[in-house]
Symmetry: C4
Subunit: 197 residues, 4 copies
């Protein structure tokens, strides 16, 4: 029974879509709701964190899906690494809520650091995931040309340094760190999307 | 590797179904539960908001699915626009909870405005999504006749003005605005469903 | 473009599985957690409600899936009815939580009534769903013999009277009503499952 | 209409992926968020419980999927047993939250016992599930060799004694019990994964 990639994909698809949709649970307004209009406007850090996390998950999911399509088979180690990657994606709603609740509030530095650290971890796991599959074409399907692998290399390469920079920036300005994460989601990730290469 | 629409659909399907099912989390009754029967009857704004949002998501999902079936391919920009559309759908449980908790209470105007604004945004994103794909048949499959595209045009056209009207009405009567949204879900959307054209 | 049942099934599948898995959110223990062992043992109404709702959703899902497999096509009205059926399924986590929190507590009568009413509504919607599709074989696939339709008729028939009885019992003994619902899930539903007819 | 295993798989897949992703909801920090950095570091029991439960669900899902692929058909009893297995998987987020909140706190013994008991129940249901299908090759597909069945026997055999031991250990040291569960997820389960046999 040759282990295909279908099972790995189905579980991954579910986790990505659910993690993105659970992000909305970060929004909460404590009662009483007097001045609700005022409170809704002051939720802007929550909106910013929601959009940033949602768009990032959406694009990472697309890249994950594309990269899996390059694989011809998988093995136990890959399965375990994939599990750890999903674990970091499924964790994102928690630091997103911290940023939503604490940006421009006393705990903002720790919130931004936790947020950035999650993205760093996600980028590291994505790189480990890819390198394990790609090294010596360990799991790559035969028909896939080297150029397709190099395209993924180039798309994944900036992930760790970019989110590492966000992490460092979070020490100095939590708001700037979150805005950088948003900018990556809005400008860098779409251009690096492996979707139609 | 020609980018098909399958991946876009799978992620979208998940987000629609999860967003609809998460709506139930809006219901909450603070303890103690003395007079629970009384409290359950006074939850009618929550029931109204739940039915309205659930039915709307269900029908929008069907239309999304139908429209995707007209496309022959997709591209990065489409992927990004689709992400933003899903972002508005996945956001709906939050304003639904606001309406559930605040209709007939002090914060009702802001709640109804947030609710209507989410539907306006959703309608705008759906229109942008469709126009991007349809303009010059950019992503439309070759076999699809012009008449099928015009059917979608007609079905989507009233979305923005209808929900825009709801938004304006919310300033004067939050209850009327929510009832209008319900009426759209119960009467207009099913008739405009693209499901069997 | 002949409207198949695939799209209806995918959305339904998602809602069933998510509603069942969201049931776990009913469990909560207020801090402080002193005497946690004691508190966990006193959660038995929550365990009872969880098992009852979970098993019921699982079996209803199987029957829904089987019945859809008898259909050759669908239409707008069916789509709308299916949406309303899913709406009652997705609502179940709320009355389940009420039973979990209030059985053997002051609000138990209202909780059991809300729980039973949800099942009545679900049974009614399932019957409407089936009758709409089956009447004059409106949506039934050609190859399906009459005997297969009658098997579904017989399986669905007792639903409304059974849950209606539970509703009446809830006025006299909330505990008995919940136990009856459990017994239906444990004994009646599996035997009526349409799974391997 | 021969009852295939596809429907059983789709529902199971959904429950596994959703249960894993809901685990993140265990994380919560009570406001005010002063000393958030300090509080985040003291959440280590929550991180430990999250990683343990997530990785375990991921691997059990893979094994479930592999085992279902050995079956040629299913029946009502199997469907019911599968429902009970999923019920224990979907329950895991609750004891995971107890461990997250109470490890190194007054309620830790009860929390670790509840956590271990859930894994014992899960292992028991998995064994019942497998034995029902495998005994006299009741549901096994014809083409499957005996050796493939024995491989599953060996992989599933240690489950109950291992988690039973964790349960006993929890009486003496809750922390040791959780660490053992983590070790099983990190070291034993991947090696026993049926994924590529």
């Amino acid at each position: 029974m040759e282990p295909g990639t279908g099972r790995l994909e189905a579980f991954s698809d579910g986790v990505f879509a659910i993690a993105a949709t659970l992000l909305v649970l970060e929004f909460s307004i404590r009662q009483p709701h007097q001045d609700l209009d005022h409170k809704l406007l002051h939720l802007w850090p929550a909106y910013l964190a929601y959009v940033t996390s949602f768009v990032t998950i959406g694009i990472i999911w697309m890249n994950h899906h594309h990269t899996v399509s390059l694989l011809g088979r998988t093995d136990r180690t890959m399965l375990f690494i994939n599990n750890l990657l999903l674990l970091t994606v499924a964790f994102l709603p928690f630091p997103t809520r911290l940023v939503a609740e604490d940006l421009r509030a006393p705990g903002e530095e720790a919130a931004a650091l936790a947020y950035a650290a999650t993205f760093v971890l996600m980028a590291v796991m994505h790189e480990v995931w890819w390198q394990y599959a790609r090294r010596n074409r360990r799991l790559v399907a035969e028909a896939i040309p080297e150029s397709a692998l190099r395209a993924v290399d180039h798309a994944y390469l900036p992930g760790i340094p970019m989110y590492g920079t966000v992490f460092v920036v979070a020490f100095f300005s939590p708001l700037a760190a979150v805005l950088m994460t948003f900018a990556i989601a809005a400008f860098y990730l779409p251009s690096a999307a492996l979707f139609n290469r």
